[in-house]
């Protein structure tokens, strides 16, 4: 193929089903990418292994989802092009997963908030009309259980550890809490996913999730979720903050610099 004459890129999903799956894939990919930045730099060697492990799980989940999407709609020539070449506004991940690795408190809190939601979101896929998606969810849930265990145990240690760790957790919570409302946001795509039997409604569990997480935070040295002006949305529509662009400039570097090649 003459690369110069053929545009190699991905197109936007036309069906709500694939659009919904792309959200799931993008969440796993971007959070996996964020965690992979810690490889070789985590605050303890054991934590380096743990964070890399979670990153591996998430990127593995993303890969399965991207590959499955392509069997349903011809959005790109392969999963790598779909995952690694889209313009920023076509990534539909949550704003939360792109938040930076400010410190270990931010990392474990981000993981705790996301993974506890992801568990509910993926449980809603177990009876999906799409059997492959249900199987991916089932496999992922085993991994998610570990992610929650790891993240929660560290939220407890840091929240109820020293004055410094507690202060760092409070700062992380202050920064990240306003991104949690988006995780349960309802829109046309999610309603269509429910109507088609792709997923049951997981957004109705928002209050249960809040109760569970607030209990967990209270146990962590009495952390309290802050009052926020408003929950911040936008990721589902491709409206991102300043962080995603930097993630993409690394993540897309090779695919955009050398389009169409085998690696």
């Amino acid at each position: 193929m003459n690369i110069a004459e053929n545009y190699i890129g991905a197109t936007t999903p036309s069906s709500p089903k694939t659009a919904y799956m792309l959200r799931l894939a993008d969440n796993a990919l971007i959070l996996g990418q964020r965690l992979s930045e810690m490889c070789g730099h985590a605050p303890e060697m054991e934590l380096d292994l743990a964070l890399t492990n979670i990153s591996l799980d998430l990127i593995g989940q993303a890969k399965l989802l991207f590959e499955h999407i392509l069997t349903l709609e011809d959005l790109a020539p392969n999963a790598d092009v779909l995952a690694l070449t889209r313009p920023q506004d076509q990534y539909t991940n949550l704003l939360l997963v792109a938040q930076p690795n400010v410190d270990f408190a931010h990392i474990v809190l981000r993981q705790y908030l996301f993974s506890t939601m992801q568990k509910i979101q993926y449980e809603a896929l177990l009876g999906s009309s799409d059997k492959t998606l249900a199987a991916i969810a089932e496999k992922s849930l085993k991994e998610i259980a570990y992610h929650i265990r790891f993240a929660k145990s560290w939220v407890l240690r840091l929240g109820d550890g020293t004055p410094e760790s507690s202060e760092r957790m409070a700062d992380a919570l202050d920064c990240l809490w306003r991104f949690t409302g988006e995780m349960f946001e309802r829109d046309n795509i999610i309603e269509q996913a429910e109507v088609s039997g792709l997923s049951t409604d997981f957004t109705s569990s928002y209050e249960d999730w809040q109760m569970e997480v607030k209990d967990g935070l209270a146990e962590a040295g009495g952390l309290v979720a802050p009052e926020v002006g408003q929950m911040i949305m936008g990721g589902h529509k491709g409206q991102h903050d300043e962080h995603l662009g930097h993630i993409l400039s690394d993540m897309q570097f090779m695919q955009l610099r050398h389009p169409g090649l085998q690696w």
């Binding site: 490889c39 070789g40 990127i59 890969k63 790598d80 240690r157 109820d160 090649l261 085998q262």
Partner: protein
Amino acid sequence: MYSTDLRTDKEKKSADQQVLPTSSQNDAKLWDAFQKRIDKGDVIEAKDAMPEKYRATLLRQISQHAHSEIVGQLPEGNWVTRAPTLKRKLILLAKIQDEAGHGLYLYSAAETLGRSRDDMVADLLSGKAKYSTIFNYPAPCWADIGTIGWLVDGAAIVNQIPLCRCSYGPYARAMVRVCKEESFHQRQGYEIVTTLAQGTPEQKAMAQDSLNRFWWPSLMMFGPSDSASTHSSQNMKWKIKRHSNDVLRQRFIDATVPQAEILGLTIPDADLKWNEKRGSYDFGDIDWTEFWAVIKDGGLCGKDRIRARRAAAKDGVWVRAAAEAYVQKQSAKEQAA
């Protein structure tokens, strides 16, 4: 190699003159009995009596090997966020995870000799302890990830397979597992280089450029010629070391040259030539000035590597303090209940 003696002559002499804190050091009976066990092929375990020099040699070697695995995460980690495909990203992450795992159980093996991991890591961060010079070379190009797997892990295997029969049990057993994983690493590296060599001219040029940069430093990994070294012969007598640096280097070259030829890549050595009589490749002179210079000041990347490890350790201080405080609070609660 990760475990090659990287001390300068001056450092070796100073260590020889050091009086080790044990009365058994001069206990001729212990030395004889110990050597007889070694000669018989016994495996020495952590709680067995051993000459202090044997313990000190192994501690230095195993901890240096552990440091190399941990620092070795960094040049490859440089490409994790930019890996060209999801599959390559997953493999690279898994591989680096293996290296970190090697580091952890090598530190554990070293701890059986009576020193804590924290102390060993402190020596790495202060610059007192050494690690393989190869990780002070940069990985500026994706092809380097292939080359590191192919050459660096390939060299590691050649060095470490004999260590599976090292006389010190905890180290030998660690090496068995390490070698299995290194074998996978070497093959994935060679597969990356193969893909590049069979790709576009630009990709093949990347692979060649990377080979040009990593070939000589890989040969240096085996350390200087040690045929005349008294330390080396003592280590052989103790079965810590089984072959000389030169023998292992030659074994690596003989295995690797045909692999490059199959891919149509050129080894950057004008003197490289098959020697029918020896049944081995002759090769050009290694620039040992560069080797000692990199040991001395870290070469191009050494400062960055240590700075990165120091930053990680510094980030860990408050995390560890929190974990310890939490445990104390929990046990106080349990006692009160």
